[in-house]
């Protein structure tokens, strides 16, 4: 089936082949090459919670391949009147060829995949999975370093609530990456995830300080500490803004080290970093498009030609 609910739906070989296809589709994603592989196909963007970036990235991916997009928003629709997810998805099953779903409740993507016959792409469910984000992160790391084996990836910030880093860390250990987890004690990665990662044979180091990790890092993945995650202001104030990177911090970094961030950033990465060779977060954001193109083609069973010209 063409569903993508969690990264577990893809074998390492499938991940590799999707990333190869995504790389091949970069000129199409940029608009330099016209390749209407998905002409006549319809994507339903089912966003039960706002995420403008993810929605636009799916929309661009579909349109660059010649397909069309229906955007569904739950605000002011039958959903706000209490329609079940099951019923909403039944409707879309008849209208679209593939659906991307974003939902505040965890498990909504698997639930939808079981409810309908069209393939479902999980675009984020609660604090659960966000596999298309993970895939674009992997593409970015591959572009920077070629292979992932043996890299030291430093994950920084909110490792407790950030689903991006949970999903990414699981994927990285499958490819032999060592992880350094940098967070304040209140935002440590959950124990069950850390032990999961170790049980996969990964080397995992936990620390509170970022600066001393910089010289050994191959990737520094910054995340935003979100105010809305905290029960009270004081707890947030204690950790807000504790990790900041500026260009001067990176003088001791390896030459090929890349800084990533799922964006939007607040003050985790100073604009002075933008003009260094380490800044990869804008390329990372762009990579959402070719990655989702490759995943849409996979879901719809459409072969991407070896030569894209």
């Amino acid at each position: 089936m063409g569903d993508l609910v969690t990264m577990d739906d893809l074998t390492n070989e499938e991940i590799d082949s999707v990333l190869v296809v995504a790389e091949r589709l970069v000129p199409v994603a940029r608009g330099d090459v016209h390749l209407p592989l998905l002409q006549g196909k319809v994507l339903a963007n089912m966003f039960f919670e706002n995420s403008t970036r993810t929605r636009m990235s799916f929309e661009t991916a579909m349109k660059r391949l010649g397909g069309s997009v229906m955007n569904f928003s739950s605000i002011g629709t039958s959903v706000s009147k209490g329609e079940t997810l099951f019923d909403t998805m039944q409707m879309i099953d008849g209208y679209a060829d593939v659906a991307a779903i974003r939902h505040p409740r965890q498990g909504a993507a698997q639930y939808s995949a079981d409810a309908v016959s069209i393939p479902i792409l999980n675009a984020g469910d609660g604090a659960g999975n966000h596999p298309t984000q993970t895939m674009l992160d992997l593409l970015t790391i591959r572009q920077a370093h070629g292979s992932m084996e043996g890299l030291n990836v430093v994950l920084v910030g909110d490792l407790r609530y950030g689903r991006t880093v949970h999903s990414l860390s699981h994927a990285l250990v499958r490819f032999g990456v060592s992880l350094t987890l940098v967070s304040p004690p209140s935002l440590r990665m959950p124990d069950e995830i850390v032990s999961d990662l170790r049980s996969h044979g990964a080397e995992v180091v936990e620390t509170e300080t970022l600066i001393e990790q910089i010289p050994n890092a191959d990737v520094i993945y910054m995340t935003r500490i979100q105010k809305e995650r905290f029960p009270d202001e004081d707890e947030y104030a204690k950790v807000a803004g504790i990790y900041k990177l500026s260009a001067s911090d990176l003088t001791g970094a390896k030459k090929g080290m890349v800084v990533m961030h799922p964006l939007p950033r607040v003050d985790e990465i100073d604009p002075s970093v933008d003009s260094t060779d380490h800044a990869f977060y804008f390329q990372q954001a762009f990579n959402g498009v070719p990655t989702r193109m490759a995943l849409l083609c996979r879901s719809l069973g459409v072969e991407v030609p070896e030569e894209v010209v």
Partner: protein, 155 residues
Amino acid sequence: MSEMRRVTAIKNGTVVDHIPSGNALMVIRMLRIDVSRSTPVSLVMNVPSDKVGRKDVLKIEDRELSQEELDRLALIAPAASIAIIRNHAVAEKLVVDLPSDLINIASCSFSNCITKNDREPLPQRLRVISQDPLEVRCYYCGKGQEISELIDNIL
């Protein structure tokens, strides 16, 4: 079988033996036996046992439990041994089978799971990741389930 004589032998029905000590009342609940209107049920708790240290034993008169009903016990009494009694003799011996998916046996305990909306029509589905130690996760949201919480969430 001498331990079992602590309770009157039954003529017809089901004996559930080797229940971990203290879990017999939960077994009654999981089997959805309404003791206020059921056939007679007798219960011994904390019986010494060679196999499991201390155990509980449950006898249900005039009712033969099906394999499907017994499989529900996997969460709390995976090592239970079951005898179907007909005319004072053991007619059948059964064991609990832990299915790989627990469908509509207990609901997910995670508050933000999609299945928490009880109007959603798809079944509750929990996946058995490992048997020993018992590890169960929600099929939909992926959250690991505390066995004690699952017992509170029996459907």
